[in-house]
Symmetry: D2
Subunit: 405 residues, 4 copies
């Protein structure tokens, strides 16, 4: 057992931290200004992101999330502390490094399950960062925590598939640079529950695809990264070759996508929490109330201490999960992946809440990043299944340990 | 001791409930549509509010918050359950009844401390609902929980006062119909701590008043009720007769304003919680997950039971506080006013969080009112002093009971 | 609506407070000494209790819990604040006033459902305080939250009933002065679920009754009030006339007993919390750590403020429940009775935990009453059904309000 | 970074697990029976402990806690998972392996700071397990979280030191086999704050040492491991050579003792939590309520899942702390040692509370180990400084990171 990072991780951490200081943090006010520009084309990615991407690519800080030859070849354990660092500027650093959801998950799906043509057409430009993508799974009318509920249809018709359905909270899809959607739907509603679904590539400009509106998260449109679209698919026709893998493999692909997706979110969330704690400490040191800095007040000290303790615990659980994924595979790490899904967002939410409180009105405003971070993190308690579903599943596995004996 | 409402309260509750069903709830989608109208003049109050006001006035459901002859003459205890009912549609019902903050507090100040001319010029149209107002106290650079920190200057210059300072989160002040600001500032920085401040009437269109921007609350602009403005006062000159009360009375007026202000917020918050619980129950009854309604799941049942228990406790504390204010005065009810400030928003926040969670993605979206209610309620843990300040003060009073003996 | 106590309540409160100061609190160290006396006969009630009983009886502070002519004739609302006061010295005051569980519930059962002979033989001496009693319902092998689970058999055999079964946590039954047990068992396992049970009077010295051992509560034997016995019933024969009510009425009698029983526990628990808060405040004022009293430290102030707020809310909910029981009956107050069962013990537990923490090692020791109070209160989250059962039931009723519409 | 145990750890874990199954768990009912034996000499260690000690020693499972040649030579990281395993039977396994507090800390002090004569006389028999010891630091009258408060005097008088003072909660000291006390007191009240204290060896049978009484923890005497004594020292004379280290070194020795002491407690507490979770799962699987096992109920599933997640996080934090102590020293691991002190006992308390709740009345009784485990764990939130002190200290260090920049 050893809690030190390996040499490659340390080297990348060092380079990434420099990059954050030199490029990313200074770009934060630039992003804010570009987002507030009244002449901005709605939902487009602000130009500063492109500049950061160029700088990151040049420095080899690119596609760090992707194992294997197509990416940086890092293990989950090596990537975790890097992803955490990007979480410290979560609106800018992940896209700058081409490591932002949902592109990361989509690239993983294409790298693992795509055929050569699909890789050439879509994976290549995604890896280069020249296009963006979206993942269309969640539907408004059913509990998306249970993929077997999905009602979107993908029907074969000669050399084509025809897609019909309604999706929402499709992150990134409001952005016109988002060119391709991976759509989950049912090809065979009569098959066994986990063989009914398939995934298919649908270019965003295909006739029949209607981007209805941007869904908000608390009051945020999240237009910096392409928002969260509601999309209608009406008799959308794509070539049969757009199917990823084979018919009926959609559930399995979704499962394969989820593990890394969850841990990436959690890694970044640790960085979000570190940022919040730093802001809380700085504010507490500067703000005077009733004659002394907030930092001298016992209640604020409790917040700070608890935040530090919760961050340390959350980080260790994420790192161990990454290590398990590397050593026994995503399936073997199933319990731990659920555990971080349960533990990390709620810990980070608690810390963000206290950071907001320490900032007073500024904390809920647009003048700090805290309220927006809070809103983004809040969705993690819901995304791909509410925590309650994961707790139930984890408990059943725990119970089985004793029931089998 | 008796927990039944008196006859007048029952009669008004009945009429108000009818009004909610007949007018207010049906107007909720109308409000949403008017707010979303691309042709809307920014920050104006949507026309449906005016229509509701006319209907409410006609039915005598008007100025219920205001005791004495100028208002409906209700006690706090009589008003509390009515304010709660308006909280069930908190964006619409309070303004419809001319019972929305900050106008309510401003009318109280004018009724209690204004001279005849001030009453005629400003209280009258406010009572009639023909103008709106704002209360400019909070400043970005100091802890507003301690009014002695205020830095805005109000300086006498001949027959005028000159106001200089910067305020933010001035609710309602983005709205062009907001005609008058009550501004808190220092007339005599050399006086004893609680005699330095004064309040003065500043028409919003006075030269030197710059409405800088709308502050957001977790992404929300709250433009339906005039947003939350940042305002700069630069050499703003108003007649000396605009001073409310005498020089140095600002702190005392602020204190007088706070008690009713806090309890009104708490009363409405109980209604917000009832709305959230109703939405949670309805959703839980309708939504199927893993083969049965959410309502059958133990965890959701715990949320519902806890919500009911917390609402009952919060309501009783608010009602008792109202009764104390009526019987021993705001000063005598000081502990209880702080107690509801501490207890109610956090209870309501817990309930809203669970209601959001039960709704999944819809809960954080614009398709339910929950996320917006959450954001609005969250600010109550900060507004006019964070909870931590109130807990400290309450604890000291509690300790004194035993230290004196 | 009115939050003032009526004149009779005020008068009794005043007399009871005097009695507490003059008799009960001074007797607390006497009780401790008598309990620690090595020559004490195990499980007997220490003599100081008898002295207090005589004093209370003389002052008319007697059987206050019992409505109607047989008792003091108070309403629940009148009794509630008195029971709370007794909770401030919960080991001494309730038995001193002949208002201690389980005798209270047993007297209610006999007053309401007993026949004349039963009343004469058992109710009379209980009302006089010359004997004690126990209530034998809980069984170790089944979930006692569901009375239909009970396995003890009560079988008719000629003019007698024969009782067989095993009970535990039979409070008071270790005490040799406990003369009579009310035993719940099944007379007809084939009847509908709620008509299978009956209650029967079993003198503790009946052959076949074996008091096996005293059960502990977090290490406490609670021998001051007769402990918590495990009892075996083996072919225990009593006259058929010992049956209370008719065969099959046991469930209904148990239900009738529960409402008052729960609210009495909750009333006293409020007094326990007040005592804990007082001890916490005194300790915080006296104890110096790091150069200043605990009372000056923000975290301790938060505990104190939160304690006060929670007590106020809990008390109001209890009082309203008492009022409802008086005005619409126990059945009509069902939701509220469950609500206090859920809300009060957990609030009091939180306060006791903080009071313990403020006392350091003394808090967990025999030198303060806090640890023992904590243990006693902890059982209320389990007694007559764990909170989880009550929350589920309350939630279902809440859900029905919306499902029926 | 690597989360796998090394080979030596795995080998010892395997042997220890076998020992637990073969010897320790079967001895648990034996211990209970011996403790309940009416003929038992009060406060003596039940004989089964001695038998287990012999068996463990024979198997080389002995003094595992002690680094260096005098002990098993394990690192903290190697010992941690072993200590955790002993926590699964925390009344028996630690003493069986000669790894029970306070002997462990006392052996460390003697090994590190004792001279040869002291080692020969006291360390040797302690290492052999032939005597027990106690550590007399806490005093009833001062906040023991701040060692500078200590009032016990150790005064030089010729070739002797004279000890006067009052201590309490001296764990193990009721046991007549406890032969030696390490006493903390002031040799020079005029020296700088951290140079006033010294530690001195006082045989328990020295004239002037009065073991006053056993302090309880909630209702437990903890007589299985020698209870918690109150001790009076009145003109107690010991040879000057009994001083450990030099005059004024007491504070430094105490600090050195605390780090390992805290982490050992936390390691074992993880094992306690695992035991509680196992008992909760077994109970939930067996107990039927309302027609199905508790294990099927959502609320119980939440408890189980949360317990698992909290245990994993707590364990990782403990392991990382152990690794830091090994790699950068106790001083370098200061923050983490405080973090586990804050995080672990409260996590374990939560789990124990839920396990108790799942067991109903059995959970608070002597028929499961849960209530006793709860009480023992509860003291960890107080022992050597309440959590609040540690949070404050940790927060200050965190704040300094940002204030220095």
């Amino acid at each position: 057992m050893d809690f030190a990072f390996d040499a490659r991780t340390e080297e990348l951490r060092s380079r990434l931290l420099d990059f954050m200081d030199e490029f990313v943090h200074p770009a934060e006010p630039v992003l804010a200004a570009q987002l507030a520009d009244p002449d901005r084309v709605p939902w487009t990615i602000p130009p500063v992101v492109g500049e950061l991407k160029a700088a990151a690519k040049e420095r080899g800080l690119w596609n760090l999330f992707l194992p294997g030859e197509e990416g940086a070849g890092l293990t989950n354990l090596q990537y975790a502390p890097l992803a955490e660092i990007t979480g410290r500027s979560v609106l800018l650093a992940p896209p700058a490094l081409n490591c932002a959801a949902p592109d990361t998950g989509n690239m993983e799906v294409l790298a693992q399950f795509g055929d050569e043509a699909q890789k050439k057409q879509w994976l290549q430009p995604l890896l280069e960062g020249s296009i963006r993508s979206a993942f269309a799974m969640t539907e408004p009318d059913v509990a998306s925590s249970d993929a077997t509920n999905i009602t979107t249809r993908i029907e074969r018709d000669g050399d084509e598939y025809v897609v019909n359905g309604r999706k929402w909270y499709i992150t990134g899809a409001m952005n016109p640079e988002c060119r391709i959607l991976i759509v989950m739907g049912k090809t065979d509603p009569g098959a066994p529950a986990h063989r009914q679904q398939s995934m298919i590539l649908v270019p965003r400009d295909t006739p029949g695809v209607t981007v209805v509106r941007g869904m908000t998260v608390f009051g945020y449109e999240d237009s910096d990264h392409g928002g969260h679209a509601e999309i209608r698919f009406e008799d959308v026709r794509v070539p049969a070759s757009n199917l990823i893998g084979e018919e009926g493999s959609g559930f399995a692909i979704a499962q394969a996508r989820l593990g890394p997706g969850r841990i990436h979110h959690c890694m970044r969330a640790i960085g979000v929490a570190e940022r919040a704690l730093e802001l809380m400490c700085r504010r507490a040191s500067e703000r005077i109330a009733f004659g002394r800095p907030l930092a001298d007040q016992g209640v604020v000290q409790e917040w700070i201490a608890e935040s530090r303790v919760r961050i340390e615990q959350a980080r260790l659980l994420v790192l161990k999960t990454a290590w398990l994924m590397d050593t026994v595979g995503n399936r073997g790490a199933h319990t731990e992946i659920q555990a971080i899904k349960i533990a990390v967002p709620s810990a980070v939410e608690w810390i963000l809440d206290k950071a907001v409180q320490a900032h007073g009105a500024a904390g809920v405003s647009q003048d700090t990043v805290l309220a927006q971070l809070w809103a983004g993190n809040r969705t993690l308690r819901l995304a791909d299944g509410p925590d309650e579903v994961h707790r139930r599943s984890l408990a059943r596995r725990e119970l089985r340990r004793y029931q089998e004996k």
